[in-house]
Symmetry: C2
Subunit: 351 residues, 2 copies
């Protein structure tokens, strides 16, 4: 036992037990002991939100037996010192209250603040102390007691008092997209949002307008999505209904709607949208890929094959201040908030 | 038969026969007829250079029987109007002489110029007229006669008189990397090249220096590669020997060599290099991924998991003027040319 705080790494390398030397996300087992280093923060956890893929795997493996699912989650956390499903490799996020913040922590958190982690549970040291007795095992939302450790380079956002928690969490989940969009878009430009009626797409559309875009063109796949976008007036200037996987048709319709775009933001999780995004973007323009379904080689070879001089960005989910920016867009744009609340209610209503 | 030139699209959509409406690269069959539109160029082809994956597939399928391999290539070109291996989907490139350039072609080519295409054979209309009788079927290099069509947005480079053709082709094959590196690097910055002793890596290192980098750090995997780099003095300032797939070790060694980097260029074709590249790059810096082995999701999630505020670029193989720039770097940097000539000779000596 040592009484002085351990030497710490901003990435949490000092918490890695096995195998030594890897990043916490790649580790099999983390040290989740509650004593914090000078640059760490300890959070009293009240809720885990499991990644959808992880929860589905657990439920299917244990035939939706609540006791078995609960035991499995407890076993993973006790064994690994973090909630990382060994089959899917995925984690989720948590909410809680700041219990102790080290003097050298750069996160700016104060004891008593209610926070959500924006880095994955797969790299967050975690201990559960209540045996998850309040969890019915039937949803991804796990009410619980325990503690978690944040490193100097972890990301956590203070949950606002003025917004419902489910709404805040939904906004924070996609807050990297509007932040990067705002950084890239310059005043007077034409911006194309592929998947404009979705959560990251609608936030990015409003961010583009905030950055001074002269025109925002939104692409949606169906008449129903177009109607949803029309109901929430002012999020985009032009609506294009097209299959984003068909480059020639998409580019033609975007052209007719005022394109090509100076900046194109891809926010749909369908595969095969790279060519259409590139072809709808002007020479010298930028494409930001936020879809996890993006193929690196399809983007690189597609641009080369079309002699497209476009800058292509991998959508980084982290931009400093991203959560505050996205929450501010929601607060100050009633139509955006209304669309978001419908999306959140709809998701909550599904099994 | 029509006597006036057909209506044309800069992307070659007018040459697509089947299925209608797709881009030439995605088409099953192109119209390779020799009459050119006003913005097209016809090239008298003298050599095809098959993509390595395509040639390997053909050779294995036909048990390296030269007559059968030759017949298969002829059949593909006759059937499809282009050389796109239906199994691998890949093509290659060609060299030839400009025969006719349409009045509206933006490529700036003149009849009689010796050129190489920098867009793939998979989208280039092609006719072979000599039955490939001069090809022994035993290498990727096919001497031939025939013609090919370049669209307004095709890319072709004039082969220089002062350099051997194999050297020029090797340089052109990777010329996107130094061009994008030069565009991104600003004066006084620290640049990290992962895979610095390779073709795209060494070109990018010299491009970074040309752009005014204060320090260029080169990462190589082995002592042998480090020795090669040391022999060709001045290409980099510091040499780091490390496994680029081990983020923590790599970042530590880069730090010791003067990092983190403002700009990191990934030029190795190994998987799993995303985390190390991100971790070796300063907050606010840029990572350019030129490796086709890059995983989009590993890059996006890796940066988010480390709260790394880095701009991540998909290495676009096309930047205007890229071939001329790369050839100029070779001409004006004797050590770079010496390294390249060794690489080219070595490749030529392998089966």
């Amino acid at each position: 036992m040592t009484t002085s705080p351990p030497r710490s790494s901003p990435l949490g390398l000092h918490r890695v037990i096995e195998p030594p030397g890897v990043l916490p996300q790649a580790a099999w087992c983390l040290d989740a002991s509650p004593e914090i280093a000078a640059d760490e923060v300890r959070v009293r956890v009240d809720r885990l939100n499991l990644d959808a893929a992880s929860y589905r795997q657990l439920r299917e493996t244990y035939a939706a037996d609540p006791d078995k699912v609960r035991a499995a989650v407890l076993d993973i956390i006790a064994t690994r010192g973090k909630m990382q499903n060994p089959v899917t490799g995925s984690g989720g996020m948590l909410t809680g209250t700041v219990e102790e913040a080290g003097a050298d922590s750069p996160l700016g958190l104060q004891p008593g603040q209610r926070v959500a982690t924006l880095v994955s549970l797969t790299l967050t040291p975690l201990v559960i102390t209540d045996s998850l007795y309040r969890w019915d095992g039937l949803s991804e939302q796990i009410p619980c007691e325990g503690h978690a450790i944040l490193f100097a380079r972890s990301i956590a956002a203070v949950l606002p008092d003025d917004l419902p928690v489910p709404l805040s969490l939904a906004v924070m989940d996609v807050c990297g997209a509007p932040a990067l969009t705002m950084r890239v878009v310059t005043a007077g430009s034409t911006v194309l949002i592929i998947g404009a009626a979705g959560k990251s797409g609608s936030l990015s559309a409003v961010a583009a307008r905030r950055a001074g875009a002269a025109a925002v063109i939104g692409v949606v796949p169906t008449q129903a999505e177009a109607a949803l976008l029309r109901e929430h007036d002012g999020l985009v200037d032009e609506i294009v209904i097209a299959d984003a996987r068909d480059p020639v048709t998409l580019a033609g319709k975007v052209q007719a709607a005022g394109g090509p775009a100076d900046v194109t933001v891809v926010c749909v999780d369908a595969t095969g949208c790279e060519g259409g995004a590139i072809l709808s973007t002007a020479q010298g323009g930028t494409v930001i890929f936020f879809s996890m379904a993006t193929s690196f080689s399809a983007a690189a070879l597609g641009a080369e094959g079309m002699a497209a001089d476009v800058t292509m960005l991998v959508g980084n989910g982290y931009v400093p201040g991203h959560a505050d920016l996205a929450l501010d867009l929601i607060r100050t744009t009633p139509e955006l908030r209304a669309l978001f609340e419908r999306r959140v209610a709809h998701e909550g209503g599904q099994p």
